[in-house]
């Protein structure tokens, strides 16, 4: 395509150069801060900045000995776990009626359900804070934070699962029902196996959202700290290489969660195809055996 554009416009090469430079520039713009963050976490000087004094992994070695960080980490994981479980459960259950029930004004309902995605986290945070502390008289705590993050994460799960569910052909279920499957069996053996990539993707979004959520959590978690809040509080006293190291680890952790899940999904797919193939081979062998024993007369079509 580039070649025929060049034939049309003599300046095409110039534009291509400009666009390439622009593209590289955007990448630098996006990744330079992260690169600097990672680079400076290996700086041996305790002052964060260039020039680097030397290479060290001390800051990483210190992380596991810092009880505040460890506490924050365990709290973050706890919150992330419950948020993932709750929002995946609620979101998946909400997706079914949203796609299948005979709802009047479905578009409106969908917009309302997904509104928390558009709402700034700040508003959700203060709204939950006011509701919990001034109306229900519940002190801000870890539990309130879990509820708040679940509010934030559930719409994403609903969106992902319902788009997967919409693509599902309902005739599969009708066929299963025709063959005598109970509603529970239809759900377990037909719907869930077909929808589960959506559910896992939703859970993944919920987990990554929860792991680095700051704005909502900050208002409603009370005295406890999760990792993002710990990092933010550290910023007030100036940036230390330890925070850099911690942020790098969080970055790696988030990437690892996503990578492992996608790897697992692919593995399941590969295993499924392998299993299917070996099953087919088995069937063929059985059939051949049966033919050899004269139990089954091969029809012309099969041969």
């Amino acid at each position: 395509m580039a070649d025929d554009l060049r034939a049309v416009n003599p300046r095409a090469r110039l534009f291509q150069t400009i666009l390439s430079v622009y593209g590289v520039g955007i990448y630098i713009f996006l990744f330079a801060p992260i690169a600097v963050l990672i680079l400076l976490s290996f700086n041996s000087s305790s002052v964060v900045g260039f020039p680097m004094a030397g290479f060290t992994t001390d800051w990483y070695a210190r992380l596991p000995h810092d009880t505040v960080i460890l506490d924050a980490l365990s709290r973050t994981l706890l919150v992330a776990f419950w948020v993932t479980v709750l929002s995946t459960l609620i979101g998946t259950m909400a997706a079914f009626p949203l796609v299948r029930a005979n709802i009047k004004n479905r578009g409106g309902v969908r917009v309302f359900i997904t509104l928390p995605i558009m709402m700034p986290g700040l508003l959700i945070g203060v709204a939950i804070l006011v509701l919990a502390s001034n109306v229900l008289h519940i002190q801000p705590s870890l539990k309130v934070a879990i509820i708040g993050q679940t509010v934030l994460a559930t719409p994403f799960v609903i969106l992902v699962v319902s788009s997967r569910l919409e693509a599902l052909d309902r005739n599969f279920e009708r066929a299963a029902a025709d063959l005598g499957a109970s509603p529970l069996q239809r759900l377990l053996y037909v719907v869930l196996p077909l929808v589960y990539p959506g559910i896992i993707a939703g859970a993944l979004i919920a987990a990554t959202l929860s792991l680095d959520e700051f704005v909502v959590t900050n208002f409603i978690i009370g005295a406890d700290q999760t990792l993002p809040i710990y990092i933010y509080n550290q910023l007030k006293f100036g940036i230390t290489p330890e925070v850099n190291a911690l942020a790098t680890m969080m970055l790696l952790g988030t990437l690892a969660v996503v990578g492992v899940t996608f790897g697992a999904l692919r593995l399941v797919k590969v295993l499924a195809t392998v299993a299917k193939k070996s099953k087919q081979v088995e069937e063929v062998e059985e059939a051949e055996e049966a033919i050899a024993h004269g139990l089954l007369v091969p029809r012309a079509r099969d041969v």
Binding site: M118, M119, L122, L123
Partner: protein
Amino acid sequence: MCYIVLVYLYFPFAALTLYASLERFDWRLLHAAVDLGATPMRAIATTLLPQMRLAMVTAGIFVFIPILGEYLAPAAIGGTNGVMMGNLVANFFSGYLLPLGSAASVLIALVILIVLILFRRSLDTKDIYG
């Protein structure tokens, strides 16, 4: 400084939306326009841009609305000049000026609601994401 950071934070939202739209664009239209004698600029203006219009509006909204409530970036790096609406709300609440904070929040929510209603057609992302 705050501007650069906000661009940095929200650039991906806009890029994703526009990318999804560009990916579905039929590039042969550009060739056809040039074949029919349009200058390259005119070809872009009459084929590409009209099809991108919806995606551009959506991208703008996806960026505009979260920034209305942006709190973290100005708080972390905004300094004294960088106070945004979101910081104001947060300050009201941490100062126990609940009615004032609530009023400011409702104001933000109202603006968002108006934007959403005005541009509800472009928010039907099915057109963009397919």
